[in-house]
Symmetry: C2
Subunit: 577 residues, 2 copies
């Protein structure tokens, strides 16, 4: 037996016991010739006393940090002055036998050291030894298990769907896997099990879930990984309300399993409201500073920048930024920030010494005074304004500036959990010059919108996003369960009948054989865990993540393969790139 | 709300309640103008009474099997003569409102119909509606959840390892995934997370598990799928005994969760014993018929077939087949069967009318008599024998014949669970003309064998396979945790230093920084479930399996992709194949 106890287990009640421990040497201290070692494992740390009267100097001097050792000795109470508040802080182990199980070379860094992320990823096995990273993985495990237990208790069945599946290039780019047995053909790694989970509803499974890896071959941003994990859910015979209620219960339960209480009921706001108030469909309301429409204050203004926008049917909006720093330099910076969104610049004023202070106060004194009064500005408060022809762009730009200022000045805490609903069914894709489904083309449109003649671009979808602290943690919809409506939607997003049949023929066929009304949702597990442990970067909650160029710094994947391997699957590298 | 109850829920205590149900029409019967519908969902079936006095004929005649309908009506007790033993068999629902939610076209077959597997896979959503297939998926869900709960209760942490990983072509063939961001490079789908779980031990995770998909691009046999699911486990600071004990507890718990009691302690036999007694390293002992060495009976024989084998240092073995049919024709068939293994043919005798009956009795009467006596043959018992120079081949051939006869004559039940241990570390790969690691090259060899000078081909491994009912359900080993031993093993299996560094360099490097002794095991979930539900074919316990040519008949994967997709990842199809 390698150990009788773990390194986090011994207490003062074990005083006098003979024990065997095994673990990594975390620290070595020398106190008057006696070595104090701290032994570490996943469960904690225990102080060891290695007396030179027991061990020859050669043995002791050979020890170094990160060696894996096994010790046998006697537990004893520490002297009062040496007691610490750590769980094992009242005892130490007086070592009688010591064996080095595995000698460590000098590591490139020690666990928890503040080194570059690149080095941490390269030597992930040292990085993961730090209590912080260990905790991130433990929290992830607990949250996933809690999700499974909750869904199981609600009669959901976890069903594994294939990872080698059919390429359906509607949405993101697929990862491809060449087939050896059917050369010239390819599997695709699933972007999500969307169609198969709907097929499971058609199969009568009634309530499905799966904690499942999904794959998207997109250019990676800070918060994206080529593979990510979803808590994927689908339910039959439900309305939107049922899915949302189940989801709130699930997410509350998951967070509770790691000690976090979320509100009993999540607020709901419409997509339109989210865009109007926060310029974002995933608002973090903890920053306050709601955007407001200011057109009425500028009805009679002569100030050209605003006048021309209003005359062109545009909008003026702004927000009370509160007691932030303001100067011509800062205003210029904010102006540049807004210009990146296509705006002309920023307007602002500050209440200082009981008056309006602004570079534009000589043109807009009256308007600023009215805003000051109506929005209850106090001494030191800054108000930010901007105008633009395109209200959507104005909202987005001001929303982004609101967030930038919020992150600089507002110390937020707690959890803002809400739903965004009533999304438009379509969105215009500038690149492809066509309308695409905002969620996906299997989402049910509001049939009543269609019945009362609303144009497709204005039709709402039965879709819902869950947002926590400004992150979209989950999104779902009620699905189309009628072949005719599904075919109509394919037509609206510009798929010809042939294309629809080629890509989704098996699904259209399945829609013929008795389909229950159904809907579902998918949550991003990486993001949920990162919110729970309070980190922004999801690489911190993934054991072996990839860099933004899709590389695993530990293993060196992706790598070159042998010509034979390529030949076997019937492909070759393109001669020119 | 689509339903107030499921179709498996109503009881006689609900008599008089007004309820709403939704589901599939399973059956339609007409009894004197009144339609009796059976409504089906995942939870059960409920009988509905549709009275023509309530519904116009047009509505009723429109209904057909597999339509999805919603009904509202009143629960009432069935008349005594109509009561059945089904859970809802005492009630029926008198329908007052009826709505077709989704009309079904005439399906290619009805759920549970005895049709070809091809048709069932093509229309998997109809196949999965059968109670049998539904149950298979439910059992799978329960077993996976039970595994997670058990391992969690033993302090194991589920950690997700990447599916886009590094190709290390030692073992089976990898599935490749071309990288777009790093053209000319490829990820590989993992054959198992072997190295990463060892890295997790080096990271101090102490106890890891993962229910994880694994991928092997091999030619598919009946019981193989290109992707399959493993319960993957790794533990630090353990000996073989610890992993085996944990494993037995886990497997017992998993089976118990679906109502199956396995023995409290699994027997252990060595690889050598398994081969000698059953000619297989995954014996199903329920068939009895152990192979025995018969050399001593033939010491003085003149019968040429046996004499020449014994003189060449070969072996004679056989088994008591019991009361099976035997004739010259059957003997010929068994002889042909053994010839496929390279043997010369079969010998046999039968006890009939108190004498030895055999085509070879005139040469071997005395020998057969002695065997009859020693092995206690009774009237009607048949004994099978064979001889061959190569004892291993003889064991395999007789073991296979034993199983063939067993499957024909012995009705087995219950569960035979055992461990096979003391595997040889190496096995000779005829194709590659070299020794390879029988388990994998990270398995710890018996160091004491090496110390006492045993030749590598005879060195045993710290490896163990769990076998249930003749299926290898799991296999594992204690791993090498020392870089020097690991390098030695790479050398023994013929990897040059450069190859070892290129393929496993990151792992060899990790072995330098403090490695706990560790070991683990992996269980095949598909196989465990198939044993629990009593089917041989693992496709029956996988929601969307592939055929033996790697095709998904439902979606049509793999399929061709667009030239643009290939161009983006920098590959093209080979001009000639």
């Amino acid at each position: 037996m390698y150990r009788t106890h773990t390194c986090g287990e011994l207490r003062v009640s074990d005083d006098g016991k003979r024990v065997t421990l095994a673990g990594w040497i975390d620290r070595i201290r020398d106190l008057g010739g006696v070595k104090f070692l701290v032994l570490r494992d996943r469960y904690g740390k225990t102080q060891l006393v290695v007396n030179p009267a027991v061990f020859p100097q050669e043995v002791i001097s050979e020890l170094s940090r990160e060696d894996v050792v096994q010790v046998t000795g006697t537990v004893r109470k520490r002297p009062p002055e040496a007691v610490t508040s750590e769980p094992t802080g009242e005892i130490e182990v007086f070592v009688e036998e010591l064996k080095i199980l595995s000698k460590s070379a000098l590591p490139p860094f020690y666990p928890g050291d503040d080194v570059s992320e690149e080095l941490r990823l390269r030597y992930r096995y040292i990085d993961l030894r730090s209590p912080r990273m260990l905790n991130n993985l433990l929290v992830r495990h607990k949250m996933a298990l809690a999700a499974r237990e909750y869904l199981n208790s609600k009669n959901f069945v976890e069903i594994e769907t294939p990872y080698l599946t059919k390429s359906t290039p509607e949405g993101a780019r697929d990862f491809l896997v060449p087939s050896r047995l059917k050369k010239g053909n390819f599997y695709a790694l699933p972007q999500s099990p969307q169609l198969l989970k709907q097929i499971l509803m058609i199969s009568g499974l009634d309530r499905y879930f799966q904690i499942v890896r999904c794959f998207r071959d997109e250019d990676l941003r800070a918060d994206r990984q080529p593979e990510f994990t979803q808590i994927d859910i689908e339910m039959s015979f439900v309305h939107m309300e049922d899915v949302m209620e189940l989801s709130e219960g699930l997410i509350r339960h998951i967070f509770k399993s790691v000690g976090i209480e979320l509100p009993e009921k999540f607020d709901r706001i419409t997509y339109e409201e989210a865009m109007e108030k926060y310029g974002s469909d995933k608002p973090d309301r903890r920053y306050g500073m709601e955007l407001v429409d200011l057109a009425k204050y500028f009805e009679n203004t002569d100030f050209k920048v605003v006048r021309s926008v209003l005359d062109a049917g545009g909008s003026v909006k702004g927000f009370k930024a509160g007691k932030i720093q303001m100067s011509r330099k800062i205003a210029d910076e904010y102006g540049e920030f807004l210009k990146n969104f296509g705006l002309g610049g920023v307007l602002w004023f500050k209440v200082e010494g009981g008056s309006v202070v602004s570079t534009t106060s000589k043109f807009l004194e009256r308007e600023y005074q009215a805003i000051w009064k109506d929005f209850g500005l106090e001494e030191g408060d800054v108000f930010i304004l901007a105008a633009h022809d395109d209200r959507e762009r104005l909202n987005e730009a001001l929303g982004a500036l609101r967030l930038k200022i919020g992150k600089e000045y507002v110390k937020v805490s707690g959890f803002d959990a809400l739903w965004v609903i009533d999304f438009p069914f379509l969105e215009y894709n500038q690149e492809e010059q066509r309308y695409v489904a905002r969620h996906h083309p299997f989402t049910m449109p509001h049939l009543e919108d269609l019945e009362r003649g609303v144009e497709w671009p204005k039709v709402r979808a039965y879709a819902y996003d869950m947002v926590i602290n400004g992150f979209e943690v989950g999104g779902g919809s009620i699905r189309i369960h009628d072949r005719e409506i599904q075919e109509k939607v394919f037509e609206v997003i510009g798929l010809s009948k042939d294309e629809a049949r080629e890509k989704f023929g098996f699904f259209l066929e399945a829609l013929q054989y008795g389909v229950p009304p159904h809907g579902g949702i998918a949550f991003g597990l990486d993001r949920l865990v990162s919110i729970a442990v309070g980190v922004d970067n999801i690489r911190e909650v993934i054991a072996f993540p990839k860099t933004s160029s899709g590389t695993c710094l530990l293993t060196g994947a992706p790598s070159t393969v042998s010509p034979k391997q390529l030949e076997e699957v019937g492909i070759e590298l393109r001669s020119e790139s």
